[in-house]
C-alpha cells in the first residue's frame, strides 16, 4: 500500500470547549481524488481548517507527504504545497484580480514560477484574464470562486483542498466550475473536495467519504455513492 499523501489520524478539535471532530481519521492516497460529503455542521469545514492550520488540533496527528504538520502555521503548511481554498471567500476585496492571484504565490520559492502559473490559471479561467485589473469586491460570486481556486493554484499545490466550491452558484456556473476542477485534476494536482452534491463528487472524485457528527461514517469505493444511500443517510429513511 502506498504512503498516503495526506493522513489524518484520530483528530479531535472544536471551538471554545465544544468539540466538533471526535477522533476523525482519513487518508488521501497517492493519485486519488477524494470527495467528502455529509450534513452541514458536522465538521467538514472544521476538518479543512485544522488540516490547513487555521484551527489548532486538540489531539491527533496530521501528516502530509510523510511529514508531521500538526501545529504548523497556515503559512508554513501552504508553503509545503497543501493549499486550502476556503468556503464562500471574499478574497482581498480592495485588490485587483491580478494582485490577488500573485499573492497566492507569496512564498519566495514560488514567486519565480508565478508568471507561468498565472498563465495557466488564465487558461483554465479565461474570464479572469478579462477581469485581471478589476477589484475583487466587484466580482460576482462565481468569479470570486474562480479567483479563490486560482489563488490556490498559484500556491503550486501538491494537494488542493476545496471547501464547497459551488456553494450558492447557479447550475450553469456549477457545471463550468466542475469542468475547470476536472481540468485541474488532469494536470496532476490532487484534490480533496467537500460538496453537498453527490453527483458533482461522483463525476470528479475517485472515492467519497461520508462524514457525520465529526467522524467518518462511511467510505465508498470509486463511483459507488448512490442516490438512495445518500437520501437514507441524510434523512434517516431506513
Amino acid at each position: 500500500m502506498p504512503e498516503p499523501i495526506l493522513n489524518v489520524d484520530d483528530l479531535v478539535t472544536g471551538y471554545g470547549r465544544q468539540p466538533v471532530l471526535h477522533g476523525l481519521s482519513l487518508s488521501v492516497l497517492e493519485g486519488e481524488a477524494l470527495g467528502l460529503i455529509g450534513p452541514n455542521g458536522h465538521g467538514k469545514t472544521t476538518l479543512f481548517r485544522t488540516v490547513s492550520g487555521l484551527n489548532r488540533a486538540w489531539s491527533g496527528q496530521i501528516r502530509f507527504m510523510g511529514e508531521d504538520i500538526t501545529g504548523l502555521s497556515a503559512a508554513q503548511i501552504a508553503e509545503r504545497g497543501l493549499v486550502h481554498v476556503p468556503q464562500g471567500n471574499r478574497l482581498f476585496p480592495q485588490m485587483s484580480v491580478e494582485d490577488c492571484l500573485d499573492l497566492g504565490a507569496f512564498s519566495p520559492a514560488k514567486r519565480d514560477n508565478g508568471a507561468a502559473t498565472r498563465d495557466r490559471v488564465f487558461a483554465i479561467f479565461p474570464r479572469l484574464a478579462e477581469r485581471r485589473k478589476q477589484r475583487c469586491r466587484t466580482l460576482s460570486g462565481g468569479e470570486r470562486q474562480m479567483v479563490a481556486i486560482g489563488c490556490g493554484l498559484m500556491g503550486q499545490p501538491k494537494l488542493l483542498i476545496l471547501d464547497e466550491p459551488t456553494l450558492g452558484l447557479s447550475p450553469r456556473l456549477k457545471g463550468e466550475l466542475r469542468d475547470a476542477i476536472g481540468a485541474i485534476i488532469e494536470t496532476g494536482v490532487q484534490v480533496l473536495i467537500v460538496e453537498q452534491d453527490p453527483e458533482f463528487l461522483r463525476r470528479l472524485t475517485t472515492r467519497q467519504v461520508y462524514i457525520e457528527e465529526g467522524r467518518v461514517r462511511e467510505d465508498f469505493d470509486a463511483g459507488s455513492l448512490e442516490h438512495d444511500k445518500m437520501m437514507e443517510m441524510y434523512f434517516g429513511l431506513r
Binding site: 497556515a74 508553503e79 478574497l91 476585496p93 499573492l103 507569496f106 514560488k110
Partner: protein
C-alpha cells in the same frame, strides 16, 4: 498698508506656516493610519515613540557628538524597535479578543505612559533641542522660513509617495494590505500575518521617529512633546476616513492649513479649542469622517 497688501501678507504667513504644520502632521498621521488600516487599532503610544526618536537622535548626535546622520539613523532604528515591541507586547496578545479596539486603547495608553516616564527617567526634565538639518533661510511665497522647515516641506510628500509605492507595488507592501483585508485568506496564501504586523508597526514607528527628529529641531524636546502632535494626527486620521493614505494626506493638509489660518486670525489659544470643536462637529455630522465610507 492698504487692504490688498494686508491680505497678501496674511496669505504669505499662513501659507508658509500651514505648509510646515501640514507636512509634520502628514508624517505622524501616516504611521497612525498604516497601523489602523492593517491591525484596526489606534496606537496611543505613537506620540511617545516620536519623542523617544527625538531623544535618541539628541543623545547620538549632540551628547555623543556623532553627527546628524548617525543621530537620524539611531532614531529610526530605536523607534522602529519600540514599534515592534509595542506590537508584540501591547497589541498581539489581545488580538483575538472581540473588543480589541478598546483594549488596545488602554494598553497603548499605558505604553505611552511608560515611554514618557522612561524618557523622564533617562533624559531628565531639562528641555533639549536638536540642530537644524540645514542652516539658513529659504523664501517661500515671499516669507522667510528656515531651511530645516523647507526640508520638512519637501520630504513629507516624498515619504508619502514612497509609502504609497511600497504598499502598492512591493511584495511585502501587498502582503501587509492582504493581511489587513482578509487575514485568514492571507495565511492560506502563505503570508505570515505576525510578520506583516511587525513590519507595519516598525514602519509606522519609524515614521514617528523621523517626525520626532524633524520636530525636535524646531520645538523643544520634552517627555510630553508627543501628546499634542498625536492628538492632531488623530484628528487628521479621522478626517481622512481612517486608514487610507490619500485621505490621510488630504486630512493632514486640511488640519495644518486650518490651524495656520485660525492661528493667524484667532490666535494660538482659540485655535486649539476651535480645532476640537470643529472635529467633534464633523464627527456628529459625518460619523465616519469626512472621507470615510461605511
Amino acid at each position: 498698508m492698504d487692504f490688498a497688501d494686508g491680505a497678501l501678507s496674511a496669505f504669505r504667513a499662513v501659507f508658509a506656516s500651514g505648509l510646515v504644520l501640514s507636512s509634520l502632521y502628514v508624517m505622524i498621521a501616516a504611521g497612525l493610519a498604516l497601523v489602523w488600516s492593517t491591525l484596526g487599532i489606534f496606537n496611543f503610544a505613537h506620540g511617545a515613540i516620536m519623542v523617544i526618536g527625538a531623544y535618541v537622535a539628541w543623545t547620538v548626535s549632540i551628547d555623543l557628538g556623532l553627527g546628524q546622520v548617525a543621530g537620524l539613523v539611531a532614531a529610526l532604528a530605536a523607534s522602529a524597535l519600540i514599534g515592534v515591541a509595542v506590537n508584540r507586547l501591547l497589541v498581539q496578545p489581545f488580538l483575538a479578543q472581540p473588543n480589541i479596539i478598546l483594549i488596545t486603547v488602554m494598553t497603548t495608553l499605558s505604553g505611552a505612559f511608560f515611554l514618557e516616564n522612561s524618557a523622564l527617567l533617562i533624559w531628565g526634565p531639562r528641555i533639549k533641542q536638536l540642530e537644524k538639518i540645514v542652516d539658513g533661510n529659504v523664501f517661500l511665497a515671499g516669507t522667510a522660513i528656515s531651511g530645516h522647515e523647507a526640508v520638512i516641506i519637501v520630504v513629507a510628500p516624498l515619504m508619502m509617495l514612497a509609502l504609497w509605492a511600497f504598499l502598492r507595488f512591493s511584495w511585502t507592501g501587498k502582503a501587509i494590505r492582504a493581511v489587513a483585508q482578509n487575514r485568514e485568506f492571507a495565511e492560506l496564501s502563505g503570508i505570515r500575518p505576525e510578520r506583516m504586523y511587525a513590519i507595519a508597526f516598525a514602519i509606522s514607528a519609524a515614521l514617528a521617529g523621523f517626525a520626532g527628529v524633524m520636530l525636535g529641531a524646531i520645538r523643544f524636546i520634552t517627555p510630553t512633546l508627543g501628546a499634542d502632535p498625536l492628538i492632531k494626527a488623530m484628528i487628521v486620521v479621522i478626517l481622512g476616513g481612517l486608514g487610507s493614505i490619500p485621505g490621510t494626506i488630504l486630512g493632514a493638509y486640511l488640519v495644518g492649513f486650518g490651524e495656520a489660518v485660525s492661528t493667524y486670525f484667532l490666535g494660538a489659544y482659540w485655535t486649539q479649542a476651535m480645532m476640537f470643536f470643529v472635529f467633534i462637529l464633523i464627527l456628529v455630522i459625518r460619523p465616519n469622517g469626512l472621507m470615510g465610507r461605511e
